[in-house]
């Protein structure tokens, strides 16, 4: 039969590629900023996890802002480990945002940075596309850490509008906690 040798040939070719992969290295690209080795680690220290009343205060400030602007949204507040402490879905907010708001909050908490960073870096191009392979990343603004006295105590995630609308409301929530 004609297809049999062809199949064998394809299998042999793919084996050769794997075998080569074991020895071949991808050379560093001098234009890749990820090849730089920073001396210091820059990070936020962990504080005492956010209390329910603080979480409600942040979410209610965000809710007030969203209500004032007429934007239906979901608002999630999580502990530094990314676990849900408080959640509200405004009337008429889209269903997708229930999960997205929680995801943004969790990503902001567990990576200890605002999710806008992922969005902007991915937008810079191929050298940052690896970010999308990191566990738990969401490359959309609207998730922000809640920081008190220089320590992260939790995070807030907002979804329902455009990314920029989500982020404004999210930051209103952050601003309510000192």
């Amino acid at each position: 039969m004609a297809f049999k040798p062809m199949f064998r040939g394809a299998a042999a070719a793919s084996f050769a590629m794997f075998a080569l992969g074991a020895v071949a290295q991808v050379p560093a690209d001098p234009n890749n900023p990820n090849e730089a080795l920073p001396e210091k680690a820059v990070y936020l220290q962990y504080g005492e996890p956010i209390k329910l009343d603080q979480a409600m205060k942040a979410a209610n400030a965000a809710l007030a802002d969203a209500t004032k602007r007429g934007w239906p949204m979901c608002i999630a507040v999580v502990s530094p480990s990314g676990d849900l402490v408080y959640f509200i879905k405004m009337d008429d907010c889209q269903y997708a945002s229930i999960a997205i708001a929680q995801h943004k909050a969790k990503a902001a908490a567990t990576f200890r940075r605002a999710t806008v960073n992922f969005e902007r870096l991915l937008g810079r191009g191929p050298f940052f596309s690896y970010l999308a392979t990191l566990d738990g990343v969401i490359a959309s603004r609207g998730g922000n850490p809640i920081v008190v006295n220089g320590k992260i105590i939790g995070a807030i995630g907002v979804s329902g509008g455009t990314g920029s609308q989500d982020d404004v409301v999210s930051l209103s929530g952050v601003a309510a906690i000192k």
């Binding site: 329910l52 959640f87 509200i88």
Partner: protein, 133 residues
């Protein structure tokens, strides 16, 4: 076209506050979740000291009650009576502490609590539902 009642954020806040008050009155530390009739999360609180597991369980109980339109205790009792095959029902949490929210004869959602004994969890969510009427 048929129209039917649905939960608003304001309804959820009232129910959650009443449920939380019931828990606080008894010095119970729990998570309380409210979901719509499709099992979508509308409102959640995790009281200080309640675990992430409590939050997940409160959601799971409320979701079971909302989607199956019956108390999670009903599921628990059925299985206890020997219907072990009920454990194979898709994504149900057959543990007391979740109640359907019924308005004008229609199930509009579910409410679940987790953190104390199962019958106490149910007492908490029942107090929440009472605040709706």
């Amino acid at each position: 076209m048929k129209t039917r009642p649905m939960l608003t954020l304001d309804d959820c806040r009232r129910m959650s506050a009443a449920a939380e008050a019931e828990a606080k009155k008894n010095n119970w530390i729990v998570a309380i979740a409210i979901l719509d009739d499709g099992g979508h999360l509308l409102h959640l609180i995790r009281m200080d000291g309640a675990s992430p597991f409590n939050a997940r369980t409160a959601i799971a109980k409320g979701k079971t009650a909302a989607e199956t339109r019956r108390s999670t205790l009903v599921w628990e009792e059925r299985i206890k009576a020997g219907r072990n095959s009920m454990l194979g029902m898709p994504k149900i949490t057959p543990v007391q502490g979740g109640l359907p929210i019924v308005v004008e004869g229609v199930c509009v959602g579910g409410i679940g609590a987790s953190g104390v004994q199962s019958h106490e969890d149910e007492q908490i969510v029942a107090a929440g539902i009472k605040a709706l009427s």
